[in-house]
C-alpha cells in the first residue's frame, strides 16, 4: 500500500477531477492518493465524484493555508 500526492490547486474545471481520476486509475487497490485542492468547486466535486465511483474518501482536512484542503482518497 503506497501513498501518492497530487496538487491541483493551480487547475480549474474539469482538470481538477480529470487529473484526480487519471491518477486514481494508475493506483493499485488499497493505495492512497492525497489531493491538494482549493475550496469551492474542486472541494465539492473531487470528493463527491470519487465517492460516486466507489473510491473511499478517508479524510478532508484544511491545511495551514486558508482555503487549501487535503483530500485523502483510497482506491
Amino acid at each position: 500500500m503506497a501513498t501518492y500526492n497530487l496538487d491541483v490547486t493551480k487547475d480549474h474545471c474539469p482538470m481538477t477531477f480529470v487529473k484526480t481520476k487519471i491518477e486514481l486509475n494508475k493506483l493499485q487497490k488499497g493505495d492512497v492518493l492525497q489531493v491538494k485542492l482549493l475550496e469551492g468547486e474542486p472541494l465539492e466535486n473531487v470528493p463527491r465524484s470519487a465517492r460516486e465511483q466507489g473510491f473511499n474518501v478517508l479524510s478532508v482536512t484544511e491545511t495551514e493555508t486558508k482555503g487549501v484542503y487535503n483530500v485523502e482518497i483510497q482506491k
Binding site: 487547475d11 474545471c13 474539469p14 477531477f17 480529470v18 460516486e52
Partner: protein, 158 residues
C-alpha cells in the same frame, strides 16, 4: 452501479466548440460516465494525425479542402478569429490562467479511454481515410450505429 452515458456529436471544427466538446467529455469521463464522441464533417479535423494544414483528400478538390480545413492546430475560433491569430490569443489566455488547453484536453480524453468515432459519410465526402486519423479512433460509423451506441444516455450536438 449503472454506468451513466454521454454521447456527443462533434460537428464543428472550431477551436472554441471543440474545447466545449472535450471539456464536457473529459469531465463526464472523470466522474464515471461512459463517453462517446461521434466526429462528423468539420469535427473530423480534430482527429487528423497531421494537426497543421496538409493536403489530405482523394482528389484535387478534397486536397484543397484538406489544406483549408487543417487539423486541430489550425482550428479557427467561432468569433474573433482574426485570420488565425484568435486561437493563438485564446491558447495564450488559457495557459496564463492555468485552464487546460484544447491539446491537453484531447490527451486527457485519450487517457480516460473516451470512445472516438468517425462519421463514414463525411469521410467519404472529404476523401479522408481511417489512416489519416489518430489511432485512438475506435471505429468508422454511420447514423444507425451511433444511435445504438448513444441509446439510454444523454446526447449533445456541438
Amino acid at each position: 452501479m449503472t454506468t451513466k452515458k454521454l454521447s456527443i456529436i462533434a460537428f464543428s471544427g472550431d477551436f472554441d466548440k471543440l474545447t466545449a466538446v472535450f471539456t464536457l467529455a473529459t469531465g463526464a469521463a472523470a466522474v464515471g460516465y461512459e463517453v462517446n464522441i461521434f466526429f462528423t464533417f468539420w469535427g473530423l479535423d480534430a482527429l487528423k494525425i497531421k494537426q497543421g494544414r496538409s493536403p489530405l483528400g482523394s482528389n484535387w478538390l478534397t486536397k484543397v479542402f484538406g489544406v483549408m480545413m487543417g487539423g486541430l492546430k489550425a482550428s479557427p475560433t467561432t468569433r474573433f478569429n482574426f485570420c488565425g491569430i484568435g486561437p493563438k490569443i485564446f491558447r495564450y489566455l488559457m495557459r496564463k490562467n492555468n485552464v487546460a488547453t484544447l491539446e491537453e484536453l484531447v490527451e486527457a480524453a485519450k487517457v480516460l479511454g473516451i470512445n472516438f468515432y468517425a462519421c463514414e459519410m463525411a469521410m467519404h465526402i472529404l476523401g479522408l481515410k481511417k489512416e489519416d486519423f489518430i489511432p485512438e479512433v475506435k471505429d468508422v460509423l454511420g447514423v444507425a450505429s451511433f444511435l445504438k451506441l448513444s441509446e439510454g444516455g444523454q446526447t449533445l450536438f456541438i
